[in-house]
Amino acid sequence: MTHTIAASPHAHAPVSVGRTMGLVILALLPATLFGLYQFGWPALFLFLVTLGACLGFEALSLILAGKPVRPSLMDGSALLTAWLLAMTLPPWAPWWIGVVGGLLAVVLGKQLFGGIGQNLFNPAMVARVALLTSFPLEMTRFIQPQPLFSADAPGFLQGLAISFGGQSYDAVTGASILGHVRTELGQGLPLAEVLSQAFDPIDALLGVVPGSLGETSALLLLLGGLFLLYKGVISWQIPAAMLGTIILLATVTSLLGPERYPDALFHVLSGATILCAFFIATDPVTSPVSFSGQLLFGAGVGLLVFAIRTWGGYPEGIGFAILLMNACTPMIDHYLKPRVYGRDRRGKPLEYDDDAEIPAEKAR
C-alpha cells in the first residue's frame, strides 16, 4: 500500500486563488450592478465586450505561450482584471475601447511579464492609463445617469447603436465632478460656487452622478471593501493609509486655502478613490507584502492621487498614482521587511543585559 508522500503540512486552509478572485468579484457586484442599472444598455454592452476581450486575449496568450489554458482561465484573475478595467471606463465608450483595453491589460500588462503573479504593474491600470493618454476624447466623455428603463434612457437597440455604431449622444454628456471642478477652477471661479452647483455629498455617496461605469457609488464600493476586510481577503493597511493620507492632505490644504482646495469629503467621495483604496491598490501581485511596506505603499498612493488631482494635468490621478507606486513595490519589499524572531531590525541576534549563560570560568 502506498500513500501520497508530500511535505507537511498535511492539512490546508479552505482557500484557493479562485476563491480569492471570486470573493473580490462578489464584493464588486453591488457597485457593478448599480453602475449598469444607472448607465443602461450601452454600459452593459461595454462591460460584456471588455470581459470577453480580456478572457479572449488571456486564452490566446496562454495558447501562444504553450501553457495550459483551462486552469489559468478558471482562476478568475483575467475575469477580475477585465471587471476592474470595465468599471473604470466611461460607461458609454465605444466597444473598441473595451477591446483595446483588454489587449493592453492582459497582453501588455500581464502576459508579457509572464502571466499571473509576475506582472509589475496592475494590468487594469496599465490599460486605463494607456487608453486615457491615447484616446483622451473617448476616455473623458461621461454622461448623466440615465437609469435603465427610465424615460430618457436609450433602449436596447439604441444602446447597441451607441456602443457599436458610433452614434453620438451629445445631449446627455456631462463631465465627471473631478473634471468639472478642475475646469471651473481653471477659469478662476471660487471653489464654493463651483461646488455648490456641482457637488452634492449625498449624491456622490450614492453614486447618482456622472462618472466611470463602476466608480460612482462610494457607498456600495465601501460596503464591498468592508466585506473583503471581514473575509480577510485584503488587509486594512493599504486602504487605511491611502484614505488617511488623502483626508489629511485635503483637510490641511482646504483649511489653508478654502477658496482653491476642496475638502476631504470631496476627495474621498469623488472619482475612483474608494474603488482604488479597496480593490486596486490592494491588488496583491503589485503591492508590497509586509505590514510597514503596505502602509508606505498606501500612503504613497494617497499622496500621488492628491498631488495629481490638485496640481497635475489630469483631473483624476488614480491610474498614474497606482502605476508609480507599483514601480516602487520591489524596492519597498526589499527595504521594509518584518523583523525576524530573535533578531533585531538589522538582523543581529537579540542580546539581553542579564544574559542567563554562566561565564565559563564561573561554571567551573
Binding site: 508530500a6 511535505a7 479552505p14 480569492t20 503573479g117 539581553y352 554562566i358
Partner: protein, 490 residues
C-alpha cells in the same frame, strides 16, 4: 498571569473531537516489536544483546553512545529474534538498524527495576543521571535527550521550567488525555524536573481548547507552590518552544540560541510522566500514548503502546480503515511525517498516527504565487516565505539563507494558508538539506586540503631530511678520506 502576543500563526480546524473523548487504553501486546536504535536526536544506540537472548521488560537492549544519545530498553519481556535492518518510521521508507523482539506474553519487569522513595532528596545531577539511563527523550516529537536539557543548569542561570501542554497540532489528544487521567503523576514528574533544574518557578501552559485538562491540572497544581497552570490562547504554533516562552515571558529567544539563554527550559507533559515513572518506579521509557485518528480510521483512540509496535497493529486495533487514506502520517498534520507503509514501528517521539482522507488534506495542484502576503502574515518568525521560496526555486540558496531560511522553524503555517497551494515547507526543507550537504562538502574539502597540505609538508620534510643525511654522509666520508690522507702523509 499576563500573556504576551506572538507574531503570525494560524487557526487550523483542530479536529480533536475525533479522539479527545476516548480514554487511554492499553494496546494488547503485539506479536512482534521492531525497536529502532535511532529514536532520538544524536548518535544511535549501540546494541548490548545477542540474537535469541531472553530479556525482561525494561532490560537494556542498547546503550547510549556519546554525549547526546539515549539508551533503549525492552518494551516487554521476550526473546530477541532479530538484530538487523527494518523500515524506519520516516518518509524515505529506508531501513535502519532495529532490534526485533518477540514478546513472551508475560510482560515481566526486570528484577533490578526499583524506584527511589524520595527523588527530591537526590542531587540534581543524580536525577539527570537516572533520567538519562531511563532513555527518556522529548516526547512532544522532538526526541531530544531530556537529561541533556536537565543538565543545562551547569551552563545557564535558569529561573523557569515551562511545561508545554499546548498540544497545538490538530487531531492529537495524547497529552490532553494524559493530563486528564494522570494529573498527579504528570505533576510529580514536573516537580522532579524543576528540582533537577534547580528552578523555583514552573509554568504549565495548556491551550484553551482543552478546558478539562486545564481544570484538572489547575486543581492538582493548587497543592504546590511555584507551579502555575496557565491557559494559553489556541493558536498554532503555540507549542513551538520559543514562541511558547515568548507568550509566557514576553521575551524572544535570541536567534540561533536556546530558551536557556533567557533562563527557561521547556519540557512536555508526557516527558514529565516518563520522568515520574523513571524516578518513582525505576521504569525506563518503554511505552507511550499514541493518538490514532483521522477520518479514515474507523474508531479513533488514544492507545498506550509499547515502543516498536507496528502502526498496522495500532490501526487494526482501532477497527482499521473506513476508506483508503489519502495520506498516512506519523505525528500531527502540521509538522508530521508522511509514511509509506503500515509496518513501520512507533518510536519514543510518536505522538500520533493519522490516516487522512482527501477531503481532510484538501490537497490541490500548486499554482503560481500571487504575492497575497498570507504567508508573510502567518509566519511566526517574521520571515517572507514567498521570497525565500522564490530564491530556492531558482537555486539561489544563499539568497534564501540571507532571507532567513535558517530562522525558519518549519511549522508550516505559511503553506497552510497559501491560496496557491505552494508546498513552501518542501522548498525550505530542500534548501535546508542542500545547505547542510554543502556545509558538509565544504568541511570535507577543507579537511582534504588540510591533509593534503600536511602530506606535502611531510614529504618535503622527508626529502629535506634525506638530503641532509646524504650531505652529512658525504661530509663525513670526505672528512674520513681527508683524515686518512692526512694520516697517510704524516
Amino acid at each position: 498571569m499576563r500573556l504576551f502576543k506572538i507574531r503570525g500563526g494560524v487557526h487550523p480546524d483542530d479536529r480533536k473531537a475525533l479522539a479527545a473523548g476516548r480514554p487511554i487504553e492499553d494496546l494488547p501486546l503485539p506479536a512482534l516489536l521492531h525497536i529502532p536504535l535511532q529514536q532520538h536526536i544524536g548518535a544511535a544506540a549501540q546494541p548490548v544483546v545477542q540474537r535469541r537472548q531472553q530479556v525482561a521488560k525494561g532490560e537494556l537492549l542498547a546503550r547510549a553512545q556519546g554525549m547526546i544519545s539515549a539508551p533503549i530498553h525492552a518494551p516487554t519481556s521476550g526473546r530477541v529474534v532479530g538484530l538487523g535492518l527494518y523500515p524506519a518510521n520516516h518518509p524515505s521508507g529506508l531501513s535502519v538498524r532495529t532490534i526485533t523482539l518477540q514478546p513472551d506474553g508475560e510482560d515481566r519487569w526486570h528484577d533490578d527495576i526499583q524506584g527511589v522513595a524520595d527523588p527530591f532528596a537526590l542531587e540534581p545531577a543524580e536525577v539527570a543521571e537516572r533520567v538519562a539511563s531511563a532513555g527518556i527523550v522529548g516526547m512532544g516529537g522532538a526526541t531530544f535527550p531530556s537529561a541533556v536539557k536537565l543538565n543545562l543548569r551547569n551552563r545557564y542561570q535558569l529561573q523557569t521550567l515551562v511545561i508545554n501542554g499546548s498540544e497545538c497540532e490538530p487531531y492529537l489528544t495524547c497529552d490532553d488525555r494524559l493530563m486528564r487521567e494522570q494529573p498527579d503523576a504528570v505533576l510529580d514528574g514536573v516537580r522532579i524536573m524543576a528540582h533537577a533544574l534547580g528552578v523555583a518557578r514552573t509554568i504549565f501552559g495548556i491551550e484553551g481548547n482543552k478546558p478539562e485538562a486545564l481544570a484538572i491540572m489547575s486543581e492538582a497544581a493548587a497543592a504546590f507552590d511555584g507551579v502555575e497552570v496557565v491557559k494559553l490562547p489556541t493558536r498554532y504554533p503555540m507549542g513551538s518552544e520559543k514562541h511558547l516562552v515568548q507568550t509566557l515571558t514576553g521575551r524572544e529567544t535570541p536567534a540561533r540560541g536556546l530558551t536557556a539563554d533567557i533562563g527557561v527550559v521547556v519540557h512536555n507533559p508526557a516527558t514529565a510522566f516518563a520522568v515520574h515513572e523513571a524516578l518513582r518506579l525505576g521504569r525506563p521509557l518503554v511505552s507511550r500514548v499514541v493518538t490514532v485518528t483521522g477520518e479514515a480510521i474507523a474508531e479513533p483512540r488514544n492507545l498506550r503502546a509499547p515502543i516498536g509496535t507496528k502502526i498496522e497493529d495500532l490501526v487494526s486495533y482501532c477497527g482499521g480503515f473506513t476508506e483508503e487514506p489519502e495520506r498516512l502520517i506519523g505525528g500531527g498534520p502540521m509538522m508530521g511525517q508522511p509514511l509509506r507503509e503500515l509496518r513501520v514501528p512507533i518510536m519514543k517521539g510518536s505522538n500520533g498516527v493519522l490516516a487522512l482522507t482527501l477531503a481532510e488534506t484538501n490537497r490541490r495542484a500548486p499554482s503560481p504565487c500571487i504575492r497575497c502576503a498570507s504567508c508573510v502574515d502567518a509566519c511566526p518568525c517574521g520571515l517572507m516565505p514567498l521570497d525565500m521560496a522564490a530564491h530556492t526555486r531558482v537555486g539561489d540558496l544563499e539568497g534564501a539563507v540571507e532571507r532567513g531560511l535558517m530562522d525558519c522553524i518549519g511549522c508550516g503555517s505559511c503553506a497552510y494558508v497559501c491560496p496557491a497551494h505552494i508546498p513552501l515547507v518542501q522548498y525550505f526543507n530542500h534548501a535546508k538539506g542542500e545547505m547542510a550537504a554543502r556545509g558538509r562538502a565544504k568541511q570535507k574539502q577543507a579537511e582534504t586540503k588540510r591533509l593534503a597540505e600536511q602530506r606535502s609538508q611531510r614529504l618535503e620534510a622527508q626529502k629535506l631530511a634525506k638530503r641532509e643525511a646524504m650531505a652529512k654522509r658525504k661530509r663525513e666520508a670526505a672528512a674520513k678520506k681527508q683524515a686518512e690522507a692526512e694520516a697517510a702523509t704524516s
